[in-house]
């Protein structure tokens, strides 16, 4: 077997905020009826977290569940377990109208940390990043300059950004430009 590689092999840049390619992350797209008890149980079994509220992410010790749309969730699990967990989900939901797909290798994940993190994202996304508007545990799908992206904020004020793997280099370059040390605006 060949070794799996993440999109940018842990690329890192420190400017107004620190940008890091986060490496391999197991990700499962799950579509189905989010109010279904079977689905809720299967999600809990796979990630240890419950189905979150609209535009929120629920994190546990072993994984996380993010709200993508009224009928879609993004399940985060360890990369090594993603194939087994996808199979287990498919099995548990065999009687439901639902679909679980392993999309780990189709995406890239970045972390964005440091005091300037809100400002760096604020320059490239049409989203209000005020402390009162975007809180830890909030999850948002939006546009990052010219490409689609999703991100959430954890308790340590670190943003976790998910984008398509094919645009990973674009997103990294974009974040680097936005985090240029001489580009401080000071809004957030």
């Amino acid at each position: 077997m060949s070794d799996p590689l993440s999109a940018l092999a842990g690329a890192r840049y420190a400017g107004l905020a620190t940008i890091e390619e986060a490496g391999l992350q197991g990700m499962i797209t799950l579509r189905g009826d989010l109010s279904s008890k079977t689905l809720q149980k299967a999600v809990k079994a796979a990630t240890g977290a419950a189905v979150p509220q609209t535009r929120r992410i629920a994190v546990s010790d072993t994984g996380a569940v993010a709200w993508m749309s009224p009928d879609e969730l993004l399940l985060l699990v360890p990369y090594a377990e993603v194939v087994d967990k996808t199979a287990a989900l498919t099995d548990a939901l065999s009687g439901d109208h639902a679909l679980a797909v392993n999309i780990s290798d189709a995406r890239a994940v970045f972390t964005l940390s440091g005091a300037g993190a809100r400002e760096v994202l604020g320059k490239i996304c049409p989203v209000d990043f005020d402390v009162s508007a975007f809180k830890p545990g909030d999850f948002r799908r939006t546009r990052m300059a010219q490409v689609a992206a999703a991100f959430w904020l954890d308790e340590a004020e670190t943003f976790h950004i998910v984008c398509f793997r094919s645009v990973a280099q674009y997103v990294f370059n974009l974040l680097m430009a936005s985090a240029h040390p001489q580009s401080k605006v000071g809004v957030y």
């Binding site: 609209t54 535009r55 993508m68 749309s69 009224p70 879609e72 049409p126 948002r140 799908r141 939006t142 546009r143 689609a148």
Partner: protein, 109 residues
């Protein structure tokens, strides 16, 4: 800049996060209809100065289609509502009537 609230995820999305889907509440005339009906369904669109109903998609977000009622002259948005309907709901009509008494659009008023 047009800002519409997505009725599915509650995001107050600005125009660049959305995709315009043309006129709302079209009645489809397919096989079995007359040439005139099909022609009108295919080509005849409203171009109002004032109240207008449109379809939008939250493309860089939850990905869902929804409807919006807005004014083409002032860009005022009267409301957004689900795509699973073939007519504007009563609360949207009431909101428009409160601001534009006597409005009409196709068969709705």
């Amino acid at each position: 800049m047009l800002i519409l609230e997505c009725p599915y995820c509650g995001v107050k999305a600005e125009e660049t996060e959305l995709h315009a889907g043309g006129e709302a509440h079209l009645k489809r005339f397919g096989p079995g209809s007359s040439d005139d009906e099909f022609h009108d369904y295919l080509f005849m669109r409203e171009n109002p100065k004032g109240v207008h109903f449109e379809r939008w998609r939250h493309v860089n977000g939850c990905g869902k289609w929804f409807h919006a009622a807005r004014c083409t002259t002032t860009l005022e948005v009267f409301g957004t509502y689900t795509a699973q309907t073939s007519a504007p709901p009563q609360e949207i009509r009431d909101a428009i009537t409160a601001k534009r008494p006597g409005w009409s659009w196709r068969e709705f008023e």
